[in-house]
């Protein structure tokens, strides 16, 4: 048995087979059980078959949404995609997601300034550390009361939930730039802002982007919580709505679709990071 030996490495083929094994087992056993249940009960709803899921997903992605005026059947493919339920849900969620991620940029700048200028650090650090400990979801009722249940409260939830982490992370990353760099830059005649932006910020930027990538999960978590509780569109709203109808044949493809979208965003940020910072040595 080689399984529990630190020094045994699987070959290329074995490693590849092992890495796909659990996917195969999971998918295989799901469809086996689903088929068994459908044989027992033709109206089975808990475990839809592959055909049902493909059908529902195609309906969601290609047919006009319920509130859309039904045009004649011969609309071009592009129009039918952009008027579909899936497209509209993805666009609504994507818009909130984009705004939230853009709002993290000031958080990065605040963290940088807190680390570079001791007075700003003294002013903000304790306050942000306090805010970081607040469970953002527990603020949700307060946000709904204060900002109403429209877009603003959902975006505020994400910002309140993720910004303190990003601020503190940027702060720590900026602090970890060796002090020699600052001293060297001063002896080269650089001013305070030149050091902050041209030395420290540029050095930490790839790490900050990685930190944002790690926090994309948290962004999505807060976004989904907000959408499930108070929204009239969006991917999470749809999932929560379909739960009431036991619409597993749409919920499962939606969950996978969300995972795919997040994966693509993460991969794009990773590639961009590599392109922009060829000097960056990932440790």
């Amino acid at each position: 048995m080689k399984f529990l030996h630190i020094h045994e490495h699987p070959g290329r083929m074995t490693a590849s087979v092992l890495s796909w094994l659990l996917f195969a087992v999971g998918i295989g056993s799901y469809f086996y059980v689903a088929q068994q249940r459908h044989l027992e009960n033709p109206d089975e709803r808990v475990m839809p078959t592959a055909t049902q899921m493909v059908q529902s997903f195609a309906d969601a992605a290609l047919k006009p949404a319920a509130d859309e005026e039904v045009s004649d059947g011969a609309a071009p493919l592009w129009v039918s995609i952009t008027s579909s339920m899936l497209w509209k849900d993805s666009a609504a969620t994507g818009r909130r997601f984009l705004i939230s991620v853009l709002l993290l940029f000031p958080a990065v700048l605040l963290g940088l300034h807190m680390a570079m200028f001791p007075y700003i650090g003294a002013l903000f650090l304790r306050f942000i550390q306090f805010f970081d400990k607040i469970v953002a979801l527990s603020l949700l009722p307060i946000l709904f009361i204060a900002f109403g249940i429209d877009e603003l409260s959902k975006i505020m939830l994400i910002v309140v939930g993720v910004a303190p982490t990003i601020i503190l992370d940027t702060f720590n990353l900026s602090k970890s730039v060796p002090h020699e760099q600052t001293v060297k830059a001063l002896t080269l005649g650089a001013g305070d802002f030149a050091i902050a932006y041209r030395i420290v910020f540029r050095q930490i930027l790839p790490r900050v982007l990685n930190s944002i990538r790690l926090n994309l999960k948290a962004v999505m978590l807060f976004l989904f919580a907000g959408e499930m509780i108070a929204s009239s569109d969006g991917l999470a709203y749809r999932i929560a709505l379909l739960r009431r109808h036991m619409g597993m044949d749409t919920i499962i493809p939606y969950v996978l679709w969300v995972a795919l979208l997040l994966f693509v965003v993460d991969l794009a940020m990773h590639t961009l990071n590599r392109r922009l910072h060829p000097w960056f040595q990932e440790t």
Binding site: P178, L186, T187, A194, R198, W279
Partner: protein, 279 residues
């Protein structure tokens, strides 16, 4: 009274340890360094030689006494003193060429004024100047487009020296600059810095724990020695007879022996107590 390049006047440095307790690092240091000297500061680990360098640099203030550079008290690091530390002196996100031009660029253009029309033209001049300095320290043009992590330790220190010297600082401070290099690279770097010192006439203060390096490089050796809890003071301050790496081995050994004896002479205060471990 004329102004020496560097004047250290009865300087004390205390570091806080815990609460109100503080430990004295430097005790009554008096030092006068004339323009154009090449002074090596030696001493054992932890005797405060890097602290002394940081005082001259302006990164730290003395607890008592004064540190003057060209007659002015030090407030913070500036272009008066070039600085080459042991590590981290290159900016990892900039190419070799950009590292060297950085000083010229920020000295002329502030953080936000690089969109001035003269910027492009001046940058071309800076790059040409940087290439001349890099050539001087043993680089070819192809190397100048590399990033620091693609260079060996010795090459990185060559860039760091070019980066500091291009601003023609009156004083160059080097803190264990060659200590992380392997012996072959190290002696090459020592010859290079001595050559650059002869050509530029810059005052150099070179901190090292390697006495032999100090003996062969400097025109003067300042040895610091720890004196128990009272902090370090200058144990020896001698002009070095003209030595270099080709000098008579015996002569070098005599000097090294003398300096090393002086740095250890106060160590009698430290008792090696025998603690029974196996009882």
């Amino acid at each position: 009274m004329h102004d020496a390049a560097i004047r250290v006047d009865n300087v004390h440095v205390n570091y806080p340890v815990q609460g109100s307790v503080s430990r004295r690092i430097l005790n009554g240091i008096d030092l006068q360094i004339e323009s154009g000297e090449f002074v090596s500061i030696v001493g054992q680990t932890g005797c405060g030689k890097s602290t002394l360098l940081r005082l001259i640099l302006g990164e730290e203030r003395p607890s008592g006494g004064r540190v003057l550079v060209n007659g002015c008290e030090r407030a913070k690091p500036d272009r008066m003193c070039g600085y080459v530390p042991q590590k981290y002196s290159l900016f990892p996100d900039k190419t070799v060429l950009d590292n060297v031009t950085f000083g010229l660029e920020v000295s002329e253009f502030g953080a936000f004024s690089r969109f001035r029309p003269s910027h492009g033209k001046r940058m071309r001049e800076f790059r040409a100047a940087a290439l001349r300095y890099l050539e001087h320290t043993g680089f070819c043009e192809a190397d100048s487009r590399k990033y620091p992590h693609q260079l060996s330790g010795g090459m990185q220190q060559r860039v760091a020296i070019a980066q500091a010297l291009i601003l023609k600082p009156p004083i160059l401070l080097m803190d264990e600059a060659f200590s992380a290099l392997d012996p072959g690279t190290r002696s090459g770097m020592q010859q290079l810095i001595k050559e650059l010192w002869r050509q530029s006439g810059t005052t150099i203060v070179f901190v090292t724990h390697n006495t032999r390096e100090a003996a062969c490089l400097g025109t003067r050796i300042v040895a610091l020695a720890k004196n128990g809890d009272e902090g370090s003071s200058v144990a020896l301050d001698i002009a070095v007879p003209h030595l270099d790496f080709n000098s008579d081995e015996g002569e070098i050994r005599d000097l090294v022996g003398e300096v090393e004896y002086s740095t250890q002479s106060h160590m009698d205060h430290m008792h090696l107590r025998s603690v029974p471990i196996f009882t």
